[in-house]
Symmetry: C2
Subunit: 193 residues, 2 copies
């Protein structure tokens, strides 16, 4: 994909029906699909091969960095694993000392300031995967251009809410929707004008 200016910043989030991106212990296994779900796998695979830079907060980065380079991931989802390992990645953290996953840049600076500046520079589009706290901060700062929410058909009853701690209400425009046979619904939003 040729570089574009301005670059856009998207976010791809898995949520429970009650709006949590993880349970109270940080567990996200509610969002796991059966390994043989061909329709879902094709969707995830298409997303993973979409090009552009991946952006993470520390927790999601650590989870993904421990999974995608593993032999298990290469066996379970070879195309997605290859794409995830190859794509350029940014991880924002004040505490991480190093980020060893292939093609990853560790950034200690403020995420909103850094990404706000990067959006004004030429370069590939960027998409945040998971990283609910980071998405919340960036959405609050008006920096998210496209939000893709995966609503899983499960209620957790407790957990970490996406958008918790916003300083203002955020209004969105619905762009499109897609329902999957596994009961998942994907909702695409843009910020309201």
């Amino acid at each position: 994909m040729p570089p574009t200016a301005p670059r856009t910043l998207g976010a791809f989030m898995q949520l429970s029906l009650d709006g949590y991106f993880c349970d109270p212990k940080g567990d996200m296994s509610f969002a796991h699909k059966p390994p043989d779900d061909a329709e879902w796998n094709a969707f995830v695979s298409g997303n993973a091969q979409g090009g552009g830079t991946l952006v993470f907060g520390r927790r999601t980065y650590e989870m993904m960095a421990s999974w995608w380079p593993s032999p298990m991931a290469a066996k379970a989802m070879p195309e997605v694993a290859a794409a995830m390992n190859e794509r350029p990645k940014l991880v924002f953290s004040r505490t991480l000392r190093s980020a060893d996953w292939s093609n990853t840049t560790l950034i200690h600076d403020d995420a909103a300031e850094t990404l706000g500046r990067m959006k004004g520079e030429p370069g590939p589009d960027m998409v945040i995967l998971g990283s609910g706290m980071l998405v919340t901060r960036l959405a609050d700062a008006g920096l998210i251009d496209a939000l893709q929410v995966v609503v899983n058909p499960v209620a957790l009853g407790a957990g970490k809410s996406l958008f918790s701690g916003l300083t203002r209400r955020l209004n969105f425009e619905l762009v499109k929707t897609r329902a999957f046979a596994n009961g998942t619904v994907v909702l695409w939003y843009a910020p309201a004008a």
Copy 2:
């Protein structure tokens, strides 16, 4: 609609994108649509005229009982107001002394026990409107047969979460979805088998 046995118990909820049925102060105005939204009004009107018994917790009851019998409601949405005023209604509350909205029965007994018993008796189907705390308790007790969730295109950042305090995870099957031009998505769920 002829009485059926067993009666089903449904729930119709308006939620923000982050899973709240009201903001921290109990305000639900985030779910209001422009008065001239013909597509949405036709949907609401169809729902209101669907027959069956309406079920409420105290807070939603008080809000609706102060609106639907009013001249303003009759002017704004005449068909829906007429249907809402006419349909048989149950309100569950330990504190209300009386319930004066037309065709309303006030029930001081436990909602799960009462509705669990009623579901085994012949009679019209029942649907809970709003009443997030009541829906949570009844879903936890396995009494909700159909859940209709209206996802509004707004993030509140804080509020009262549907399903807060569940004693277990609840898995659902997605039945169907419908997107509206106003950015709202309606999701129909049944309990997972």
